[in-house]
Symmetry: C2
Amino acid sequence: MQPFTNAITNLFGIQYPIIQAGMVWCSGWELAVAVSEAGGLGLIGAGSMQPEVLRLHIQRCKAATNKPFGVNVPLLYSKIDQTLAVLADEQVKIVFTSAGNPKTWTAWLQEQGMTVVHVVSSVKFAKKSEDAGVNAVVAEGFEAGGHNGREETTTFCLIPAVRDAVHIPLLAAGGIATGRALLAAMVLGADGGQIGSRFAASLESSAHQNFKDKIVQTEEGDTELVMKQLTPVRLIKNDFYRAVKTAELQGANPETLQELLGKGRSKKGMFEGDMVTGELEIGQVAMQIKEILPAGEIVKQIWQEFLACQKIFLQKV
Amino acid sequence: MQPFTNAITNLFGIQYPIIQAGMVWCSGWELAVAVSEAGGLGLIGAGSMQPEVLRLHIQRCKAATNKPFGVNVPLLYSKIDQTLAVLADEQVKIVFTSAGNPKTWTAWLQEQGMTVVHVVSSVKFAKKSEDAGVNAVVAEGFEAGGHNGREETTTFCLIPAVRDAVHIPLLAAGGIATGRALLAAMVLGADGGQIGSRFAASLESSAHQNFKDKIVQTEEGDTELVMKQLTPVRLIKNDFYRAVKTAELQGANPETLQELLGKGRSKKGMFEGDMVTGELEIGQVAMQIKEILPAGEIVKQIWQEFLACQKIFLQKV
């Protein structure tokens, strides 16, 4: 069989168009290495790392694999200058930026030799990212975990619209945990998928075991996008979520929500394992995740499912 | 070329797995006939019709086409007994039921010779519908127009989960306006698609011209699912929407929302053309609808796109 190649595998020099999302508290060097070694693209999530912690993770990645890997950086992070300096110092080759203006850093990052991908949740920002010169975009639907867009556009509506609006390679995010969903996202116009929740629940994820177990138990209707007055975030429904929801139904303003959130809430939940009062960010697709597997095994499964689904589907139509 | 057949085309005796959703104020006999004549399945939307008005629409349908057509009936409608009696009297062959318990009427409808399809927005109710003996289900995602589910599960997450849970034929709804989206929905596990918004904006739709024009103008972020405390509904953002939203952000209870809604609000908007204070129900996918075409032309376009997309996609992977 011919090896699979397309705009995304060519851009990153990887085997399968499967990107492991950079996630706070879940995606350290071990997860990134496992995914990259299996033929996908692993990303270190810098959002929950001090610059020198990030440096350590990058160095461990470089020591553990010769395959391409990248780093996800939320551009609104307070120590953004130091973080990006670490990336340049360590000669990171691929960076996924999010939560900020792609115009500010893209050219500089590319001058340092990096391929730059920006995460968006709307057609408008996909176009702005293309104008800013990024090498690819991730379009993330309403069903995605963590922080996402105010327009609430779902993967099904977002991907074709972004595909029609930009010419650069496009990754779909939100709702993808299986090969079938990856294939559907590519039919809608994506060149590959960025997958978060499924890898958050992998063996190599740095999330607390309680959180991984919780993901596997998550069923239909167990997540909701809340805090739209502050920064929208999709959470598993626990006591913290209920406090937020109650406040929102009573007409809470952003300040009240900020106070409820406090500091370190996501670390408490996802990294320290407090399932009751911690912030638990996950995608709707958690309802389809039934077991905790090695990340490399997940990559292989997704790709096998992709090929099998393609075959079945072709027989059907 | 072999004619296309699958579980849905066989169930209804139609040419393409394209179902035109029964919609309040949009889908009278003219729309249903145009879709059925083109090889899809047209549905009369009984939700906005008195029983005797519905009878007239059914009679006109029977006079105008020998092709299969159906009727969508919201089961919570106050004159449900009379409405269903009209269906039986007029020997309607296909009924899509929604908004109610499928156990109450399915067996009786089938005894009258009808194929029964129930509309759901969750895996849980898909299973209940299968248990109630329906012949197929429509699974409707968060992005769909009009009233939909409290779990907010998107088409991308809902379809694979329902596919895994039930064995009866499955139609996807929410986010489908093109052949590419229909193909993606079928890759996710559906046997066909139910399409609303695109047909609401067709020549034969009975909606007011103002509403059709409004759909074509709708862009990303112009719709939102609101009134979750009452009955969730996706609306185009106008003055009525803003009044609802303001009330919700101030912590309005269901009674306040009911008062705001009042009576005849959807007729005022969609049928009488009041774009400012009327209720305008539409799907997120309206952002992709760019012109008002004859419904038969829409069916043909969708199917051609479906085949073309399949071909392109196969060359790509």
